[in-house]
């Protein structure tokens, strides 16, 4: 009987605990509080997570995300930082019994590149021809690969770098759409042989300035770069939606840019008694913050649809799609380049006659 009574008493307590209700024995004034949580994806970095400037105890093992629970409902300030990487900051509301999700990204503060040269040694070292050893090859970036510079122009002892040849072909002046089918197939096969990447997401180009991955379409609308979700609402990314209960204060909680999106949805589809039972309202488009710069080209960041790579007139920048509170933008290569192209999960840049790969992570020590 005592076990039955224990079970009857314990089950509701476990249920309340699991749904987020907490009782602070050290602060009884609070009483039983309905708490919320935050779930932050920090990617593969060893970023330190801070909540309202206090470090969050990190219990991640084999996981790239951290779950912060027992949060009093209200605005919370998150920032993720790591040595040598940009800091990611976000202010988001936490609601009772709900978890606010976010995804951080941290790119190297000092741009990391991997130069490509037309010729390389037999062991694969890139060779800069007709270049003095005292020359500064890239004064704006860092590279961890070995490079060789020589004032000679002789190439008899060198090997032609097939990767360079392939990447150079990607920077063709003609558009991809006008390439022959054979050229494109050859390019893809060569790329598959020369490069290896774990990135499985592939970009489909329906037009030269439209990129589609899964149900997300990235395109240009005038001067703006816009991302649009085209799939079923049950799979829509969390940052497109706001809780129905927070509609009235969307601007304060998420910023005017989110408010504008919500307003356009409401204008198109006013809330009725049927839709009012829904727990959230979702936009279908988000405008990517280009920081008043002209966007030359754009694409999804390799391996994810939550980030967009913008080739702007002032450099290459990565901006998150999540525009709640603001969109974090981090410089991948904050200097002007001629062209940028993505292939098999790698980003390549061309500046004058120099071609290099833009790296998104710090090299391993």
């Amino acid at each position: 009987m005592s076990m039955v009574l224990f079970f009857i008493c314990a089950v509701p307590l476990f249920m309340f605990y699991a749904t987020g209700y907490r009782y602070d024995v050290f602060n009884r004034d609070l009483g039983i509080t309905a708490t919320g949580g935050m779930y932050v994806n920090v990617g593969a970095t060893d970023g330190e997570v801070y909540l309202n400037e206090s470090p969050v105890e990190d219990s991640r093992v084999f996981r790239n995300a951290i779950y912060i629970q027992n949060l009093i409902p209200g605005m919370q300030r998150l920032h993720v930082q790591a040595l040598g990487l940009h800091t990611w900051v976000k202010e988001l509301p936490v609601y009772a019994n709900y978890v606010t999700e976010a995804s951080a990204f941290l790119l190297p503060v000092w741009p990391q590149i991997r130069p490509l040269t037309e010729f390389q040694t037999a062991t694969g070292t890139m060779v800069f021809l007709n270049t003095a050893s005292t020359s500064i090859l890239f004064n704006n970036a860092s590279s961890s690969v070995s490079l060789l510079s020589t004032t000679s122009r002789a190439t008899t002892t060198l090997v032609r770098n097939t990767e360079y040849t392939f990447v150079k072909s990607l920077f063709a002046t003609t558009s991809v759409a006008s390439s022959t089918l054979l050229t494109r197939v050859v390019g893809e096969v060569t790329g598959a042989l020369a490069l290896s990447s774990s990135n499985k997401a592939t970009t489909t180009e329906s037009a030269t300035t439209t990129k589609v991955i899964d149900n997300l379409k990235l395109y240009k609308q005038g001067d703006e770069v816009v991302i649009e979700y085209m799939g079923p609402e049950r799979s829509i990314p969390y940052y497109f939606c706001v809780p129905m209960g927070a509609l009235a204060s969307t601007s304060e909680l998420y910023g005017p840019q989110v408010m504008r999106g919500v307003a356009s949805v409401l204008a198109a589809t006013p809330i009725t008694t049927d839709t009012s039972s829904a727990s959230r309202l979702c936009r279908s488009t988000i405008t990517i913050d280009r920081q008043n710069q002209t966007v030359v080209s754009f694409d999804f960041f390799p391996g994810t649809t939550d980030l967009v790579v913008l080739h702007r007139t002032d450099g290459v920048f990565v901006t998150e799609v999540d525009d709640r509170s603001w969109q974090n933008t981090q410089a991948l290569y904050p200097w002007s380049i001629d062209e940028m192209v993505e292939n098999s999960g790698r980003l390549y840049a061309k500046s004058s006659s120099t071609i290099f790969e833009l790296l998104t992570e710090l090299p391993l020590p």
């Binding site: 476990f14 605990y17 749904t19 987020g20 019994n97 709900y98 978890v99 999700e101 049950r234 829509i236």
Partner: protein, 413 residues
């Protein structure tokens, strides 16, 4: 305390078990610390076993006839109308043979005779009958009581595979737990009961599978609820279910547990008679019915629920659910609860090591480590050898696909 007037009938039904198994059982009987002249051993064979059965009877008779007060052999005829071939019908036949050939001719009172029915692989520890007699004499209503020992599957513990050991020891733990709450016990496998009580209900039922537990319900209902199961808190050793290959072992364990969980057929019997027999107090009827229902339900559902509860809602839940604290906390809470429950596994591991027989010379000391770590198999065994066979047997019963008695092959490997 007088006990010399008591006689013991030991019924050993067998079918086609090997000589080594039968011989070990009879040898243990011969070595008990009890007056052998008071022991009436009945080796109950089946006609359908053919010459193998009759040869075995002859061999065992030659060896043990002079050891016990009476060594009786019976042959249960096959094809008796209304009977299901199995342990129950064989034991009932043997009990009647004992009555007509031994008890009545010798004037042995039924009230002074205790019947112990053992599986043929049951090896007795020396003080079994002393323990039984002590409980019988001290019982509140000894002629309205059954006596249940704790089955320990130690006969081949060092030879059986880890899977068989874990399943067997889990059954032992369950029976040990049941010993502490006798008000919820029914008889299981090897047990003892007074001949008088047995005779009054016509012995074990001849037409069903789980006769070992059914006899308790027969007796309980016949006595209008005034019937007890008395835990002996004393072990009997039996064989862990093991075959020559691992796959065969898995199949045998599954079938054995499917037969055990077919005991759900008792639930129908209980409810039917509870509806008719108003002499059993209503509160008792309701309590027992609810206990039995909960027991059979939790047996087949709880392991599966424990397995899926932590992660299934995440896969099956809607997008809205995925944003709730509950969806994030559920795996954490379930994980923490299961970690707490794992301490039970640690305790099980320690206790099991204390129950196993001494390590034979051919087994290395490393086996102790394996014996301790084998308990990590429990989550899998609970699902595949408890929940799923239970679902199988209950579903068969529900759709009228009644099972026959499947004889567990015994082999000392």
């Amino acid at each position: 305390m007088k006990y010399q007037h008591l006689h013991h009938v030991i019924i050993l039904p067998f079918y086609n078990e090997p000589e080594s198994v039968i011989d070990a059982t009879l040898t243990s009987l011969a070595n008990v610390k009890y007056d052998p002249s008071k022991l009436i051993v009945v080796l109950a064979s089946e006609e359908r076993a053919g010459s193998a059965g009759s040869d075995m009877v002859i061999k065992m008779t030659e060896k043990y006839q002079s050891v016990f007060g009476v060594f009786l052999t019976t042959v249960h005829p096959g094809g008796v109308p209304g009977e299901m071939a199995g342990k129950g019908s064989n034991a009932a036949w043997a009990a009647e043979e004992v009555r007509t050939k031994v008890l009545d001719p010798q004037g042995i009172l039924y009230s002074e005779t205790l019947v112990s029915i053992f599986d043929i692989d049951t090896v007795l520890y020396p003080d079994y009958f002393n323990c039984l007699v002590w409980h019988f004499i001290g019982a509140k209503r000894p002629l309205k009581s059954s006596f249940q020992p704790v089955p320990i599957f130690n006969n081949n513990m060092w030879e059986a595979p880890a899977l068989a050991r874990v399943v067997a020891m889990s059954s032992t733990f369950w029976e040990m737990i049941q010993q502490e709450r006798p008000e919820r016990m029914a008889t299981f496998s090897s047990h003892s009961v007074s001949f008088q009580a047995l005779y009054e209900v016509g012995y074990w039922q001849r037409n069903m599978v789980s006769e070992d537990s059914r006899i308790y319900w027969n007796l309980m209902i016949a006595n209008d609820g005034e019937y007890d199961v008395i835990p002996l808190s004393y072990p009997v050793s039996m064989d862990a279910n093991a075959a020559s290959t691992l796959w065969r072992t898995i199949v045998q364990i599954y079938k054995q547990h499917r037969r055990w969980t077919y005991g759900v057929e008792n639930f129908c019997y209980i409810l039917y008679h509870f509806r008719i027999n108003k002499k059993i107090p209503r509160g008792v009827r309701i309590k027992i019915a609810l206990q039995q229902a909960e027991g059979y339900w939790s047996l087949v559902t709880n392991p599966i629920m424990l397995f899926i509860l932590g992660w299934a809602p995440i896969f099956l839940g809607s997008q809205e659910f995925h944003q709730t604290v509950l969806s994030y906390n559920l795996p954490i809470v379930v994980r923490d609860l299961l970690i707490l429950a794992m301490f039970g596994l640690v305790v099980s591991s320690i206790i099991s090591l204390s129950l196993i027989p001494p390590r034979p010379a051919h087994a290395s000391r490393l086996r102790y480590v394996v014996m301790a770590l084998q308990w990590f198999l429990v989550p899998a065994t609970m699902i595949f050898f408890s929940a799923i066979p239970g679902l199988d047997s209950q579903t068969r019963l529900m759709f009228g696909r009644y099972m026959g008695f499947w004889v567990t092959p015994k082999a000392r490997i």
